[in-house]
């Protein structure tokens, strides 16, 4: 059984910065995200994880190469076209949650739906359900400052989830959390990845997140250097496809 490809990146090169400060953060990355899978993107600091996540999430466009989400290419899209693509396909979870401090949990989630032009009644129902799904039905009216880090991150997951995206991208979602809360958030993400119409990718440093993964992609210095897939039972990680791709820099 081949899983449905939801997002694919081909030969992605990304230069960041200008002039003398220009850095080639990605040096030719190809990657696909499959429905029903939680992929972990691991690598040392500065290896290009966030840059890759931004490109997969249609926040940045590749300098070379292409990204397709749900069959739509990012080629030639301007800021508004990219925003539209994100709105329809992508949900984000950030390391520092990025909740709106002046909005309560429910409003934070509703905002993501309002941005999509959803009617307020329906948005309310959907937001409430998303918060229930992440186990926060008792915290609907709490403001971020009155929520623990773990709770805030779960609100952020609910916000990403509420828009029913086909891809959820999380940048170091557990980095700011203690181990227990980190585990809870990872469990939640792997739960969301069980949906057969959705792919989840999480950038992480933390080896304790490995047990939740279906697949682990390793990146170093702007290149994918390895990919491991766990068995169906998710019991141990079997190295089924380790490709050393360290070629000459593109």
């Amino acid at each position: 059984m081949t899983a449905q490809i939801i997002l694919s990146a081909k030969g992605v090169v990304k230069d960041l910065g200008h002039g003398a400060g220009m850095v080639r953060a990605l040096k030719g990355v190809s990657l696909t995200l499959n429905a029903g899978e939680l992929t972990l993107l691991m690598g040392p600091s500065g290896s290009g994880k966030t840059t890759l996540l931004s490109i997969l999430g249609c926040i940045l466009t590749p300098t070379l190469g292409n990204v397709t989400v749900g069959g739509e290419s990012v080629k030639g899209l301007g800021p508004e076209g990219l925003a539209d693509l994100r709105r329809r396909h992508i949900g984000f979870v950030f390391q520092s949650y990025n909740l709106f401090p002046t909005l309560n949990a429910l409003e934070n989630v509703r905002l993501a739906l309002d941005v999509r032009g959803m009617h307020r009644q329906e948005a309310h129902v959907r937001a409430e359900k998303a918060l229930r799904d992440v186990g926060l039905s008792h915290r609907l009216r709490n403001y971020p400052r009155n929520l623990s880090g773990g709770e805030q991150q779960r609100v952020a997951v609910a916000r990403a989830l509420a828009g029913t995206p086909s891809v959820i991208l999380a940048d170091e979602p557990t980095a700011a959390l203690d181990s227990e809360n980190g585990q809870a958030v990872m469990a939640l993400l792997s739960q969301l990845a069980k949906d057969k119409s959705r792919a989840v990718l999480a950038v992480t440093h933390d080896s304790r997140t490995i047990p939740f993964a279906d697949r682990i992609v390793r990146i170093e210095d702007g290149l994918i250097v390895g990919e491991e897939r766990r068995t169906e039972s998710r019991e141990n990680i079997s190295k089924i496809d380790v490709t050393r791709k360290r070629k000459a820099h593109v």
Binding site: R87, S96, F100, T102
Partner: protein, 376 residues
Amino acid sequence: MVLTLALRNLFHDRIRLIVTLVGILFSIVLVAVQLGLYLGAKRMIVDMIDNAKGDIWITAFGAKSFEEGGVILTPRERHAALATPGVKAVVPLVVSFAEWRKPGGGSTNSVLVGTDPEDGGLKPWGVVEGEAASMAAPDAVLVDRSYLTDLGITGMGATAQIEQGRVRVRALTDGIRSFTQAPYVFTTANRARALLGIPRENSTFFLVQLQPRANIEAVRADLKSRLSGTEVLTKTEFRNRSLDQWLFSTGAGVALIGGAILGLIVGIVIVAQTLYSSTKDHLNEFATLRALGSSSGYIIKVILAQAAFSAILGYILGMSIAMVVVAFSVQTALPILMTPALAVFLFAITFGMCAISAVSAIVKVTKIDPAMVFSR
């Protein structure tokens, strides 16, 4: 959610909100006072002309305003006017600056207005003590009670001297104010001539009343051809001429309008500054919104809503204070006039000011790079 977010952003930083509101409030009060003074001045300047019943004014050549018409028209012009087809009546008015000698010594400038109310031309209005008809009584004059102190008298029955003649106050009006600060003093046309020491038949203006259905332009053209050495002006032309003279030749109007523009600029600068710094503070949230897929239009709406809420709050506060200033100004030499049209205009201006102020914030926000959400 746009409105919710805008309101929360606004109330999130109370100090900034207060600065914004004070800026708008200051601006509105300043603009309201300046424009209100302008309207008040305008009303004072044209009140006499507006209250006179006449479609056409015949004046001496080069008459600059109601107060400066000269006293040189003669019955010859009056008869020529009366003989013009379409003319129903021609009412003489005698108007001149005159020296008012206070009973207790000293003198002040006044504007003597000689008019015979029974002619149906110009009748003193707003009589609050005595009667307009008492003007016919010997020595009678009629003044506005707001100028009693300036005229050095206490009220009804007071006597004074105009030029060389004795006069007695027989009635008081309320609300006939003078832009030149020389109080209007009403009396009959003949007594005015006598007080001014001019020939019995001379007049300052002839107020021409037309027959129903007469064509005002045709009659005017006809009058012009019959009368040499005079000017034949429509009511509107004469109003504008008086306004030109007092508001623009003297620079008073320019100063008032200039003050209003200055108020606007100050308001725009303050609001633009606070809105911009608020946007900067919330930039990360706007970038998050953008990452969540919001269009830039959505974010612009949030900023415009912030501007609009500021405008509404600032307007309410500003107008409340402006109304207090207006109320206090009623008894001063330069009353501020607040009309519904001015109130609506100020509301529009407040909105426009806040919209202009939003521009720099909007420019900032459209340049947001959503990638900044990751670089915290």
